[in-house]
Amino acid sequence: MAENFDRDDLPRATVVPKRGTRISIVWIIPILAAVVAIGIAIQRVMSEGPTITILFTVAEGLEAGKTFVKYKDVNIGQVTAVKLSTDHSKVEVTAKIDKSAGDLMVEDARFWVVQPRVTLSGVSGLGTLLSGNYIGFELGKSKKAQRKFTGLEVPPIITGSQPGRQFMLKAENLGSLGIGSPIYYRQLQAGQVIAYDLTADGKSVQMKVFINAPYDKYVNRDTRFWNASGVDVSVGAGGVEVRTQSLVSVVAGGVAFDTPPFAVKSETAATDSVFTLHSDKTTAMKQPDAISTHYVLHFTETLRGLSVGAPVTLLGLPAGEVTDVGLTIDPATMNVRGRVEIVSFPERLVAHLGQNKAAIDKMVQASAQGRQDIMRRMVEQRGMRAQLRSGSLITGQMFVAFDFFPNAPKPKIDWSREVPELPVVPSTVSDLEAKITGIVAKLDKLPLDTISADLTKVLTTLSQTLEDASKAVNRIDSDVTPGLKTTLEGLRGTISAVDRTLTSTDATLVGRDAPAQQDLRDALQEIARAARSLRILTDFLEQHPEALIRGKSAENP
């Protein structure tokens, strides 16, 4: 049944207005978005590693946003910007490093551009032709963090992770070595030269070498290093010997090392130990002499030709070395003398001994005092003296020789001094020189002109007289003859004597007032007198030939 109703009478539905400012559910969306965005941002910030700048001279193939920084072939960062430095001299590369590698950014970390390269040690980096250049990284040992670096121009020769050890070699000069020069052990390449520099005093070159494992364990404290560059030629009793390590070492220089056979088992050398770089294998392997004593010698003659390292011999066998050549001046007297310091290695001599080797060796090894005793006895009792001798007339090299001079004057040696002075004798060379100089001077001074003039006169008179005498002899044949004969005999004897005297000029001509010269004069005067009296006789006989028969009468004076 339809009822008519007035709509206005109907009740009204309750209106419930929006309660306060209730936040609609839709706001969850922006809140959620905000949370996620903040989460992403935080994660990005947290995972961000440090940003570093590297200065390179050239940034070949480095592109922002593309080039990576790699360590052990793993990306540890990426280049974000490449631009010129403020002074336009270098390229500043900014790179963002992964957080995981952030700790590696320390003071001595190294960076370089990896690109195809040809070096002494070979070709490297060819992979970058495909993958593009990247920045290589090498660990540093420091703990101090750093953000600004200067890139290396060439890759470091050794990488920090390569097993092996580093040592230092000291040499007088670099020779033909360079960075990358190989180091050989028994002709196997065991390492390389990685750096070199002048020592602080500028007198020698110090090289840093890296010996790879497992060869580094063969480097012990007695190991010797020598320069094996180029070709080693030696001429010996066996002929010519040519030695070379490898072609590389001929071209690029090389170093070899080995432990000498006489070295006792010694411990492995510590990293960074310093070794001397010898000039060749022989020098390197020379056995060092444990026992050495130093002496000093003073010479008055020239020391030219005597160099440090020249041998000291005893009776021709090696006994030591010259260690210093110099001068001493006595300020009071201005007396200048040559000073030579030598070191003696008694063991070298002992090696040459035949019998009694063991006994002498024991004495030598026993004590310094014992050695000094031996020396003293040889010097004082046996007359051992030092003398300069010429080693080679061609080069003029001299050496010091110890020899025994029994007639040498008694020495005065102070054995208590730390470096005793041993007595010397002048060298024969100078002796001969002096003598010849003296003879020449004396010969110069002789009045040879006068003597020869006199001699000529006498000889002329003599020959004349003899002629006359032979005439006379032919005419007479009587008692006068025996007298004459005797005189003639005597004359002949005198002439022989003169002859003899004249032939031995050596002893007789020395010294102006030498008795021989005086004898000669006397003899010559005698001859002159004899010749005169013979003439008088001959003249008389000519005038009074009967005198030969009758003799000299009273009436004929």
Binding site: T14, V15, P17, P30, K66
Partner: protein
């Protein structure tokens, strides 16, 4: 005023107009008879804010990571436009940047301004102008076209490299969804009805047949 009967208790009653967010309940049995949706502007604002956040994330994160022969590459949206610039295509780069970044950014910015200004009535008159600008930016923000473009490029590249989508990609996807949502929830009429007229005065009554 509408006449209804409560579905639960059949009470005949009048249903008045409801304020936004308000609900009508049966006086007798308290059943909810109807509700008025809340101010749509609120929703639009929430969505626009979200869009703003997502936009920032999408443009600052890499779109994807690519690795081939040991090399890696990744790019953001701006990075893509920048590459075109570097390659000499300056005008194209500008167009791409405009369609992919500037237009959507401007749209979001203008919408935010409008929506925030509307929360404090009376809305100032420049809101209208701003809304007009937002409207003009809308056809030019081509985030979805860009998304498809990236996907096509990815598929082409995927043959020679391994590709990994990045956060940027998801961001762009989210942005597309949000833009669509904003356009759906936002009713410009709400603005026009509440806006302070350019002339300054309250909206006049409509004059029918005027002018002839």
């Amino acid at each position: 005023m509408e006449t209804i009967a409560c579905p639960d208790c059949d009470l005949l009653q009048r249903l008045p107009g409801l304020p936004p967010g308000g609900k009508a309940r049966c006086p007798r049995c308290n059943r909810i008879l109807g509700s008025q949706p809340t101010d749509s502007l609120d929703r639009a604002l929430a969505l626009t804010l979200t869009a703003a956040i997502v936009f920032i994330v999408a443009n600052t994160s890499p779109l994807m990571g690519l690795s081939a022969v040991g090399r890696h590459a990744s790019t953001t949206i701006v990075g893509g436009a920048y590459q075109m610039w570097l390659q000499g295509q300056v005008v194209t780069a500008i167009i791409v940047a405009f369609c992919a970044v500037i237009a959507p950014a401007s749209y979001i910015l203008f919408m935010l301004t409008v929506l925030l200004a509307m929360r404090r009535p009376p809305a100032p008159h420049w809101v209208g102008e701003m809304l007009r600008w937002a409207d003009s930016m809308q056809p030019w923000s081509m985030s979805e076209v860009m998304m498809l473009g990236i996907l096509v490029a990815l598929i082409k590249i995927a043959e020679l490299a391994t590709v990994e989508p990045g956060i940027g990609m998801y961001g762009v996807g989210g942005l597309i969804v949000l833009f669509a949502a904003i356009m759906v929830t936002f009713h410009p009429r709400e603005i026009w009805e509440r806006i302070e007229w350019a002339e300054g005065s309250a909206p006049p009554r409509s004059d029918r047949g005027a002018g002839r």
